[in-house]
Symmetry: C2
DNA sequence: TTCAACCTTAGAATGATTCTAATTACTATT
DNA sequence: AATAGTAATTAGAATCATTCTAAGGTTGAA
């Protein structure tokens, strides 16, 4: 997936909700915006923190995020290193590199990867739906 | 990693504990055995259930599992589809296929995979420590 | 045996997420 | 515009995996 601006991302999330019969309420709009503007891999708690300033409750945040995930437009990304579930707005197969020192997360795209995963799955007689690839190591800054 | 019998696996876990200065107590032994005999991808709760028959408390189970994970001899494997953290006794890089219908988990080894992950990591200037690759789809039986 | 460090344990605490029950906001129909 | 029915939101309670605590056991070295 190419670089996408926050506005474009937010609109995409909302559009997907509408397209599936969910009403584009101000609350859902705010959640989509907060997700899109986060830039990284937000947790539900982080989004709650942002939108509570607009009087939006945490139940709504969890509901909206769960809905978006069901629609396949965001992807949950549970990590060993974090007690919160993080979400990835990029649902194309890619690798998430997590620095075991500083915790930073970097999306790494490699065109061969999804092909390989799909192939391995089909070798086992299975179909490929989605992937969650996490690699732990030291990032460039923490290597030393 | 080739096929390994439960006895061999259990001994390996215990040996690793001893080797790092942890005493091979009966409780730890029981936890290692329960992990090894599970066969699949056990959760802490499942192990608690097994060893509680021998009067072993859940704190001990969680402690032992956490220790084994720190030693790198088992690997935690949080899934989107399961509220419990599962553990993988196979720490060599491989793909875990999870059936989104029936929940069954299949380990798929592919020699190219770890090489590719390490390469992608190094492209980003990072070092490779471990990987957690999960692919969701329909298994052979649930495809229809 | 004595001591200190290590282990285990029951039960309490934590904390992310989900649920509940009540209210509010739509939408379609008259 | 009024009504009715459905969808959405909310505060706060409940859930439940995991972690913590404090107290008592075990071990091994000297």
């Amino acid at each position: 997936m190419a670089i996408m601006q926050p506005e474009e991302r937010a609109r995409r999330l909302l559009r997907e909700l509408e397209h599936h019969g969910y009403r584009p309420t101000p609350q859902r709009e705010a959640v989509c915006w907060a997700l899109a503007r986060h830039g990284g891999h937000p947790t539900a708690a982080e989004i709650v923190e942002v939108v509570k300033q607009h009087g939006i409750g945490q139940a709504t945040v969890y509901n909206t995020i769960t809905t978006l995930e069901k629609l396949g437009v965001i992807q949950s990304m549970p990590l060993n290193t974090d007690e919160h579930t993080r979400y990835d707005l990029d649902t194309t197969p890619h690798m998430n590199f997590v620095c075991s020192q500083c915790g930073s997360i970097i999306d790494c795209h490699a065109p061969q990867l999804d092909l390989m995963l799909a192939q391995i799955a089909s070798t086992a007689g299975a179909t490929f739906e989605s992937a969650n690839v996490v690699v732990y190591g030291r990032c460039e800054r923490c290597k030393n």
